[in-house]
Subunit: 315 residues, 2 copies
């Protein structure tokens, strides 16, 4: 029995007779043979590895996308190498270099802002690239996400429609947060509201920093009737601070979050937020990548999955 027959039983069983297959399978089980994908990948130039770069997975925002991605790719026989680029994506370029040396068959990046060097390495690798969690009509290769500027606009429009006029914002300083801020301010400017205090803090925001920034906002004399927070965690901090000062929500101050985490609607019925299909992004990104890796037709190259403003004024 030659090595190539074993290889075929494992990778292309349709080229082998049931008899030989049986013999080989039995031998594999008996000897405890474990294939070596380093050798296989080297010879075939297919590593069956996909790399995924996220700023962090400590927030369940990205963690759920990562899970959905891993699940779908796992079904198809791929494994996922996780790279954590941090905020800001300081390490993205070095990480990418290390990752490309493993010859992944595809790569997923969070966001659309990458250094020239990163873009160039990606192009040189000649593998499918999916950018997620943001939107541009001209991605490096494929994209599955939504426009953060449009989120900001939608939130601005929503709060204006609800009658709020003294707006404030508390947000992280990452690119996507800045886009949401831009959309928010532009929506408000369209309604003649120009003076919008914005507290920027280092991403990722936490409940703690949200609470601190709300305190600072109030201590500086601002009296917003609505605050847009760049994450639900920040929003919870804002709510905590408002409550500790005896302010009613949304009576004295309305609070708008972003993300729609599991706990949000329960712990703070007053919290209105923006829902993102976190797992959907991962699943669709996996689908797009698989299609390209296996030469099938996939979803569109640029897919805007959108978002949804979730109202929860009171419960």
């Amino acid at each position: 029995m030659s090595p190539i027959t074993v290889s075929r039983v494992l990778n292309r069983p349709e080229l082998v007779t049931p008899d030989t297959m049986e013999v080989v399978r039995e031998a594999i089980a008996r000897t405890g043979y474990v294939p070596n994908m380093l050798a296989g990948g080297l010879a075939s130039k297919r590593s069956r590895l996909v790399a995924a770069l996220f700023p962090t997975i400590a927030s369940s925002m990205f963690a759920e996308t990562m899970e959905a991605l891993t699940d779908r790719l796992g079904e198809a026989g791929y494994q996922v190498l996780l790279g954590l680029s941090g905020y800001p994506a300081a390490r993205e370029d070095d990480l990418l270099e290390a990752i490309l040396s493993r010859r992944p068959d595809g790569i997923l990046l969070t966001g659309i802002v990458h250094s020239a060097s990163t873009r160039q390495k990606l192009l040189a690798a000649k593998i499918p690239v999916v950018e997620i969690w943001d939107y541009t009509p001209t991605p490096i290769d494929m994209l599955v996400g939504f426009s953060h500027e449009r989120v900001g606009e939608a939130v601005g429009d929503y709060l204006i429609a609800k009658g709020y006029r003294r707006l404030a914002m508390i947000g992280g300083d990452d690119d996507r947060a800045m886009q949401r801020r831009k959309g928010f301010l532009s929506s408000l400017a369209g309604h003649g509201i120009e003076d919008v205090p914005t507290m920027a803090i280092p991403a990722p925001g936490s409940l703690r920093t949200g609470r601190q920034q709300m305190a600072r906002l109030l201590d500086e004399g601002h009296r917003p009737d609505a605050v847009f927070c760049n994450s639900d965690a920040l929003a919870q901090g804002v709510l905590a601070e408002a409550q500790s000062r005896g302010m009613s929500v949304p009576g004295d101050v309305a609070v708008m979050g972003f993300g729609d985490l599991d706990f949000s609607p329960y712990t703070f019925p007053a919290l209105t937020t923006v829902r993102i299909d976190r797992r959907g992004i991962g699943r669709i990104a996996a689908e797009a990548m698989l299609a390209r890796m296996e030469g099938r037709a996939g979803p569109e190259k640029v897919l805007d999955v959108g978002f949804e403003v979730i109202e929860r004024e009171s419960t």
Copy 2:
């Protein structure tokens, strides 16, 4: 200039003169050469890859451990392959098989309960194995964690000392939750309390399920003065249900969580919980693994990192 010299510049720069190094470095930069670690790993039998198996990373419990692990291993030049085994660890064995075919230099598993087949594969792989997030004096190889049974006991002792006598428990059905339950019940039994309603739900528990189970508990006529929840998410659900029924916390019912997530102390000052050093576990596990992979002396093979009951009766 021979290939081996390039290899040495990249991997063992101390064996090369500054001059040749300079020349090679320049050529690498100029040509955009990207090393191929599949080939390198195959030849050297060192993949510089570590695999980590978690049930999920959607809870920030494990996500933070994963981050700390990835950070520390990344500094040392290793990358981390993430495997999600799910609850229950149904896929652990298949996942392990797929993972071992990449020839990782080390492997990290969550928990100490593994199938015979899993243990046998692990032993056969002859690589460092670190089990985390649980405790046994006899791990497969190394261990960094804490005893869930002791957590249960500590919580029982704590609630008894506070004067509570009508106890209940809401918890997941995974192995570790069961250990906490065992410790909890044994502590209570030691104080003559035998009748402890326990609601078991599929792991991982969420705020939603916590709230449902609390409702069921009350609807079934139980009137606990304290409820021990197997996660902070469940605890928040319990708190939400209690509040919606107009019960005061901890006046009418005290709520005890597990995990000490960032939001817990702020959103529910009344929530007392158990703090786990989530990042510490990841960092120490990485340290232990690195020590073994690089032939250094590391921390002890079996490390109980303990836990801490965090009191936050009122704020």
